[in-house]
């Protein structure tokens, strides 16, 4: 039932994306529309709805993103946009409430724990750095990341040598992967080739 509705809907979306791509004249907008067309293509693959077809989505996504990145670079060089902007974006909430939003995300991430928790907590840290600047935080992040890696290995040793303490190992591994992913996520977008690198 749902597939009969979803597949025609996605095919209409593909057609709309392609028509938009033909009509659009601005180069940057065309780049964005290209990505849109590609996502609808992935939706077709998803609606084939077998496990094997779903395994095609990830490579498709990787290919799409790599092409998008390559084309973005070509666009930047083509238009001569070499200097990074001083301030990417400014919203009022970035002045008024970075601390409470970042703290909320980090605490929720710790509650979630593990990989997804690390992503949420890292998003909180990322938001904090985005609002407040990121001058001296790299050393701390490197240290936390290093300890997280060591703890992760320790957890594996516990699994292999003393499997009866599996709960302890799971807790260590969950906490470590939280730290590790958080540290990695917090670095996203901060390396712009400035004085910090």
């Amino acid at each position: 039932m749902s597939y009969e509705i979803a597949l025609p809907a996605v095919l209409v979306a593909v057609a709309v994306a392609f028509i938009a791509l033909v009509l659009e004249k601005d180069d940057l907008h065309r780049l964005l529309l290209t990505d849109l067309a590609e996502i609808t293509g992935l939706a077709i693959i998803a609606l084939v709805a077998t496990d094997l077809a779903e395994a095609l989505i990830l490579p498709g996504l990787v290919v799409g993103i790599s092409e998008l990145m390559a084309l973005s670079e070509v666009y930047l060089v083509k238009e001569g946009l070499t200097a990074a902007p001083k301030r990417m974006m400014h919203l009022e909430v970035m002045d008024s409430a970075p601390a409470i939003l970042a703290a909320g995300l980090v605490i929720y991430g710790i509650v979630l724990s593990g990989f997804s928790g690390g992503a949420v907590a890292g998003l909180g840290l990322l938001f904090w750095f985005f609002c407040k600047g990121h001058d001296e935080a790299f050393a701390i992040l490197e240290t936390a990341s290093g300890y997280a890696w060591a703890l992760w290995i320790v957890a594996f040793f516990v699994f292999m040598i003393a499997p009866q303490y599996w709960l302890f190992a799971v807790m260590i591994a969950g906490g470590a992967i939280l730290l590790k992913v958080m540290a990695k996520m917090a670095l996203v977008g901060t390396m712009r080739g400035g004085r910090d690198v």
Binding site: V14, R30, I44, A53, V63, G64, E67
Partner: protein, 218 residues
């Protein structure tokens, strides 16, 4: 090997479980051709081109620093390797992945020339190549949904792959191998590093030849 006229005799099959990379007379010839041009991209030294004035006997030489050509050479070699993979791949999905890799490296070869017109052409081609991944992967996904396998070895001669999937595959490969048309527009063949542009033409030609074989086999 599949008792199909296009294949020729079987020379070698490399099995990875269900996925069988195969060298028939046809694919082996394409493979050797790609190998030859990859070798040319590795050993050629286009740093000292000679321009001849048309209609006269005057000529002048140019010196191009090797650093300028390094990226283009790398991309040309990567393109050659992707072509080698696409030629012998016995799996529809691997073939689509190699095709899109050829598309990306072709963008790289063109975009290595820092000239606004050439970059413009690279950009337009890139848009086409990106859009072409939709029918390319879509074709592989439909073939998979219809038959339950992606192995050309398993699908050969059965005629089980729907016509729509074959059409999508061909359209996708057309988009990925579209580069030579944009190259003519950009006149990149007169820009520094022109020999590497050969790789664009060779890879797209071989890709077309291979997709014809796949469409007739599955």
């Amino acid at each position: 090997m599949f008792d199909l006229p296009i294949e020729g005799a079987e020379l070698l099959a490399v099995e990875f479980g269900d996925i069988v990379d195969y060298f028939s007379v046809y694919t082996a010839v394409l493979f050797v051709f790609a190998l030859l041009f990859t070798g040319l991209a590795i050993i050629s030294r286009p740093e000292k081109p000679v321009d001849i004035v048309f209609g006269g006997d005057a000529y002048y030489t140019k010196e191009i620093p090797p650093e300028q050509l390094r990226f283009q050479r790398f991309m040309a070699i990567a393109c050659g390797l992707a072509t080698l993979g696409a030629m012998v791949s016995g799996d529809l999905f691997n073939f689509t992945l190699f095709s899109s890799m050829i598309g990306i490296t072709n963008i790289g070869i063109v975009a290595a020339v820092k000239n606004r017109h050439v970059l413009e052409a690279a950009y337009q081609y890139g848009i086409v190549a990106m859009v072409a991944t939709v029918p390319l992967f879509g074709g592989a996904a439909i073939a998979l949904a219809a038959t339950g396998t992606l192995s050309i070895w398993a699908l050969a001669g059965a005629g089980a792959v729907p016509l729509l999937a074959k059409m999508f595959l061909v359209v996708g490969v057309m988009g990925e191998g579209m580069a030579p048309f944009y190259i003519g527009k950009a006149e990149i063949t007169r820009a520094p590093g022109a020999p590497y542009v050969l790789m664009i033409h060779v890879s797209s030609l071989l890709l077309f030849l291979r997709v014809v074989e796949i469409a007739l086999t599955v």
